[in-house]
């Protein structure tokens, strides 16, 4: 796709970079006059996807997380990817309250939040190769 604007970054899979990913996303988005609630929706979805890459993809070991934000005709496109463990059963992973790491006090609500706050989410994953999440949101225009 030809985006009117986009950026792609790679950062270490460290939990302090969850805030960095949110800030970069919000800064990119703010060029397109979003509402406060739209910014929070996208930030929350990015935070969930990045956290999943760190906790589940890399299981808190070293790795690199990729974040892409693109803009075209009033829509924001997000990708979050890791080259970690991969997801064995994507349908089960997307079920509300399902978590493979209850011992880490995970709530199993990450995918549900991404689905609620964004318009479309697609999950690509292969065991042993990694996971890529695609999300889209249309910004309201006055």
């Amino acid at each position: 796709m030809e985006y009117q604007n986009a950026f792609r970054v790679f950062f270490a899979a460290k939990s302090q970079n969850e805030a960095l990913a949110r800030i970069m996303t919000a800064a990119f988005l703010s060029q397109y006059d979003p509402t406060l609630s739209e910014i929070t929706d996208v930030k929350t979805a990015v935070s969930e996807a990045v956290t999943n890459a760190i906790i589940h993809g890399y299981e808190e070991k070293t790795g690199e997380v990729e974040l892409f934000c693109g803009y075209k005709d009033g829509q924001v496109y997000i990708e979050v990817a890791d080259q970690g463990k991969g997801i064995a059963d994507i349908n089960q992973a997307r079920e509300p309250l399902y978590t493979s790491k209850p011992e880490l006090e995970r709530s199993g609500m990450g995918f549900t939040i991404m689905e609620t706050f964004m318009e479309g989410i697609r999950v690509e994953s292969r065991q042993g190769e990694g996971t890529r999440i695609y999300m889209v949101k249309t910004l309201t225009t006055e």
């Binding site: 929070t40 929350t44 956290t51 760190i54 509300p96 006090e105 995970r106 709530s107 939040i113």
Partner: protein, 116 residues
């Protein structure tokens, strides 16, 4: 994220300021458990009026504290959550275990109404 701790009878009140995510939850969990143990508390109230961001990690941490406290016969409640935080609680159906109140007084009334 910044945490402030207050005691009221046997209730530990934790005022959370800033962002709650996977990273800051480590601190939230650790400091809450330490303060609770130190005071020999029974109940917990999270004051969330100054939470500027929360994702599902926050739900996990609050439910985790609920599980610990429930075993000791205590209660846990949330106070002053903004609309955004409330929306995330609702998605997870957390309110059946941990009620959310508009102010601290109502939250205190609820937790202290628990069995001795």
């Amino acid at each position: 994220m910044e945490l402030k701790f207050f005691k009221r009878n046997r209730t530990l009140i934790i005022k959370i300021d800033g962002e709650i995510d996977h990273h800051t939850c480590e601190t939230l969990r650790g400091e809450t458990d330490r303060a609770f143990e130190k005071m020999g508390g029974k109940n917990i109230i999270f004051r969330m009026g100054d939470v500027s961001f929360m994702d599902s990690s926050g739900i996990g941490a609050i439910i985790g504290r609920y599980k610990n406290i429930q075993r000791l016969g205590g209660r846990i409640a949330v106070a002053e959550a903004n609309q955004r935080v409330e929306q995330i609680f609702q998605l997870s159906a957390m309110q059946s275990l941990i009620p959310s109140f508009p102010n601290l007084d109502l939250a205190l009334e609820y937790v202290e109404g628990g069995k001795e």
